[in-house]
């Protein structure tokens, strides 16, 4: 491996190998083949080793074989991508090297690539794909809810739809902003050439596609009935589709831990000279806070899902009350992860909108320190509120006031973000660009989400709203109204920089208005449905609620259409129109927009020295963020400290 390192800057051989030769090697093709082969091998091995095991007899559902299949499939996938080559080489004493993984050409998108910009693009496409699949499931859910009785899908299929939609969204949205945009832009924003652990970065991405596909394989295994929360002991009794849920979610937990660790190390150590903590773009602060949550919460998820997997395969009884376990153990452990997870979804959104508002208000970010304090406060508090998911579960009654207080206190740091946003808009010069529209809609939506959260945090109110459509509307207002709007803000803001191509603005505006209007039409009535007594995850409801539900379903279909508009715009702009975008289309001060488009592989020709904060719009005498000298060229030199 070390010997190939020296060939990097050698001129390319004149005679290119035949096209099929380039398909052979450690790439997606090999990964798919080994992944599929691994599934069959693992399943066969699992079946062999369980012969004669009491626990797997007579179920027609050999959970050990299923897990072995998944394990071998993922191992095969990673081997096929070449993830074992380097660690094995190191275990054999080869020296550290990064050489062979950063290259040009479209092939790098289909293999292990340590260029953080490639990983960002890989993440973007993958997350978008799974987002659309999960969204399609939501359409099928709403189609069923057009009638108050089960009509289109039977009860099992309906629950599987709910579980697939919820789990897929939670899995993919956890990295919706960190995956594509933090991977792509955090190193650039802090003036670094790459992430701290580029190989781990690539690994964190390449775990996502198998996780999504394994979750989808639940369909072939009979579905799973538990929704995204996977409550035990229902999960103990569920069909083989449950194994797919457990394995896929655990993989995402692993991926999240790696992403978080990598981001933290990157921001802590790789900042360019002069990039002080108060000059850090606010988006990077959002990423830091999210990473802290990921690193501490996701391992708990991993351990919890492992316990369920042990219950299902090794016959332990962690969650069986009659055998010395407890269902409360699951709910406590799950929500210890689950509530920080909510902020894993929300915090990058805060970062994105606060990053975008100053650019289009042409004003400094109002109250930078307050925004940072708000995010840190949310991070800290989010670990102390999880039992508000258990207010009526029979938890210790005396604990409820404490969790009521902590939960309501978390709205204080969240409120900081609103003050920052409004303060930034105030007396600015607001331009109604598409990213700005999404960022402002974020505030409106998240406000409703936050205020409805106060109802849920108040125990007496929670008694009537817990487990109802009120909760469902609440978290869609925070996650979809918050995170997904921020995601699209980020997409319209940064994708032109990433692809070098402009979006069609008319289609983008149609997308925004359709999404904003029909998002509110879809979820606002569901607060009412929940208040009137409609529980979550049911396909049978009181016929008096049919009017509301029909309205919601139709709005949801139109909301789905607005996503289609986005997709059409994306394909049209990147495949057909291909209008080149300027290097800095938004006249942003952000360091990432000072680089040429496309951004060179090494980002910076020489390490930039940061001389000013990124939001000094209109500040007299403020220097540019960094003096970059002559335009950087691809492949330029090594590091200079």
């Amino acid at each position: 491996m070390s010997d190939v390192a020296f060939e990097q800057h050698a001129p390319r051989p004149a005679a290119a190998p035949p096209w099929w030769r380039r398909l052979i090697g450690f790439n997606l093709l090999a990964a798919s083949a080994l992944g599929i082969g691994g599934w069959f091998l693992g399943h066969w091995v699992g079946t062999r080793i369980t012969i004669g095991m009491d626990s797997q007899l007579g179920t027609d559902q050999n959970d050990i074989a299923t897990f072995m299949g998944f394990l071998f499939a993922v191992s095969g996938w990673l081997i096929g991508l070449g993830f074992l080559n380097y660690p094995l080489g190191r275990m054999l004493g080869r020296p550290p090297s990064l050489r062979e993984k950063e290259e040009e050409g479209p092939g790098r998108y289909f293999r292990l690539c340590t260029d953080h910009k490639v990983v960002g693009m890989q993440y973007f496409v993958t997350i978008l794909l799974f987002f659309l699949i999960a969204g399609l499931n939501a359409m099928f859910i709403r189609a069923e809810l057009l009638t108050p009785k089960e009509k289109l899908w039977n009860a099992n299929q309906y629950l599987s739809l709910v579980g697939l939609h919820g789990t897929m969204m939670l899995m993919m949205m956890s990295a919706a902003i960190l995956g594509p945009f933090a991977n792509y832009f955090v190193p650039i924003m802090i003036g670094a050439r790459r992430m701290a652990f580029p190989r781990l970065e690539s690994l964190s991405f390449w775990l996502v596609p198998p996780a999504g596909l394994i979750l989808l394989s639940a369909v072939a295994l009979g579905g799973f009935p538990t929704g995204w929360t996977g409550y035990a002991p229902l999960a103990n009794t569920a069909r083989a589709g449950m194994d797919a849920y457990l394995f896929a979610f655990a993989l995402i937990g692993l991926s999240m831990t790696i992403v978080g660790a990598n981001m933290l190390a990157t921001v802590l150590t790789m900042r360019a000279p002069g990039m002080t903590w108060t000059r850090l773009p606010i988006f990077v602060w959002g990423v830091i806070c999210t990473s802290v949550l990921m690193v501490l919460a996701a391992p708990v998820l991993f351990a919890t899902l492992s316990m369920v997997a042990l219950d299902r395969t090794a016959d332990t009884s962690f969650f069986l009350a009659s055998a010395g376990g407890s269902p409360f153990l699951y709910t406590n452990l799950f929500w210890f992860f689950g509530h920080p997870e909510v902020y894993i979804l929300a915090l990058p959104g805060f970062g994105v909108v606060l990053e975008i508002l100053p650019v289009f208000s042409r004003k400094p970010l109002w109250g930078y320190r307050l925004a940072v304090a708000g995010m840190l406060g949310v991070t800290l508090l989010s670990f102390m509120v999880w039992q508000h998911h258990l207010f009526v579960s029979g938890m210790n009654a005396d604990l409820r006031p404490f969790y009521m207080l902590t939960t309501e206190l978390i709205s204080v740091p969240t409120g900081f973000i609103f003050l920052n946003g409004l303060g930034t808009l105030w007396r600015g010069r607001i331009r109604f660009t598409v990213p700005m529209l999404f960022a402002m809609a974020f505030f409106s939506n998240f406000l409703i989400g936050g205020l409805s959260g106060v109802f849920l945090s108040d125990v007496p109110s929670d008694v009537s709203t817990h487990g109802s459509y009120f909760v469902m509307a609440h978290f869609h207002y925070t996650i979809m109204g918050g995170l997904v709007f921020a995601l699209f803000a980020a997409t319209y803001y940064w994708l032109p920089k990433m692809t070098g191509l402009r979006f069609n603005e008319t289609l983008a505006k149609i997308h925004f208005w359709g999404m904003f209007v029909f998002f509110n039409f879809t979820f606002a009535p569901l607060f009412v449905a929940g208040m009137l007594g409609m529980p979550r995850r049911v396909s049978v409801y009181s016929s008096s609620l049919q009017g509301i539900n029909d309205f919601v379903s139709v709005s949801a279909f139109l909301l789905g259409l607005s996503m289609l508009v986005f997709l059409i715009n994306l394909v049209y702009s990147t495949v057909f129109a291909r209008v080149p975008a300027e290097a800095n289309p938004w006249h942003s001060r952000g360091l990432e927009f000072q680089l040429p488009t496309p951004i060179p592989v090494r980002n910076f020709e020489r390490t930039p020295v940061i001389e000013s904060g990124p939001y000094e719009y209109g500040v007299p005498g403020a220097p540019p963020v960094a003096a970059l000298g002559r335009p950087a060229v691809a492949g330029g030199g090594g590091s200079s400290p």
């Binding site: 559902q61 739809l161 002991p233 009794t237 069986l320 057909f576």
Partner: protein, 218 residues
């Protein structure tokens, strides 16, 4: 790439996506056992069912299951039944499975049938010892709940592959219930009868086509 090639590529990708979605809908979402219409009978209909300890065929040869017989005497692996509205539905269940016992003995009493009774091998009963129950046939929304007596553990000639025949060990349970307005009602079994699943509640107990289904009153 030329414009035409790009168009072709996008159209191809769209076609693949649509095809995948269509397969997903047809093979998973809309997959249901075929509904079976109860045979006509005086003042209503006759529904003939059997329960079998292990179905014996793919996809789940070891799962416990209900089967239903159509007018021509052929057994079908379905749990979705169509019965007429405002009529008497006479149900005959041939019980080939052994007893598991009820988790909640409350369901050992016959409820919601005409006279709150059933006949077991010709004897009229109001209730069953809870440990003798092998399954129940319950339509909670119509108030119907009938425990089904299992065959003895040591009975000779037990059935293990569906459909079971009259020669094999079984008990015969009959009861009649009255239907009301049209609608789609779920029915299920309350005996934790899913062998090898935790609490006996997994697998067939949670699967339509095995121990759960719909009664469509039409």
């Amino acid at each position: 790439m030329s414009r035409g090639a790009r168009l072709l590529a996008v159209a191809g990708a769209t076609a693949v996506a649509v095809a995948l979605v269509a397969i997903y809908v047809a093979d998973f979402l809309a997959a249901n056992p075929t509904p079976l219409r109860a045979a006509p009978a005086p003042r209503g209909a006759q529904l003939t069912l059997q329960t079998v300890a292990s179905y014996g065929h793919d996809p789940h040869p070891d799962w416990v299951s209900y089967l239903a017989r159509d007018g021509s005497g052929k057994w079908h692996h379905t749990t979705i039944f169509k019965v007429p509205a405002h009529a008497l539905v006479r149900v005959t269940v041939y019980q080939y499975d052994t007893a598991t016992g009820l988790r909640n003995p409350f369901w050992s009493q016959v409820r919601g049938t005409v006279g709150n009774t059933m006949t077991v091998d010709g004897r009229t009963l109001h209730a069953l010892p809870p440990d003798d129950a092998s399954h129940t046939f319950a339509i909670p929304e119509l108030g119907v709940s009938v425990p089904l007596k299992g065959v003895g553990d040591n009975a000779p000639n037990q059935c293990s592959v569906a459909p079971c025949t009259a020669a094999q060990a079984h008990t015969t349970v009959t009861f009649t219930f009255r239907t009301g307005n049209p609608g789609r009602f779920r029915w299920q079994c309350f005996v934790p009868c899913a062998a090898s699943f935790v609490f006996g509640n997994g697998g067939p107990m949670q699967s339509i086509g095995w121990m759960d289904g719909y009664v469509q009153v039409v």
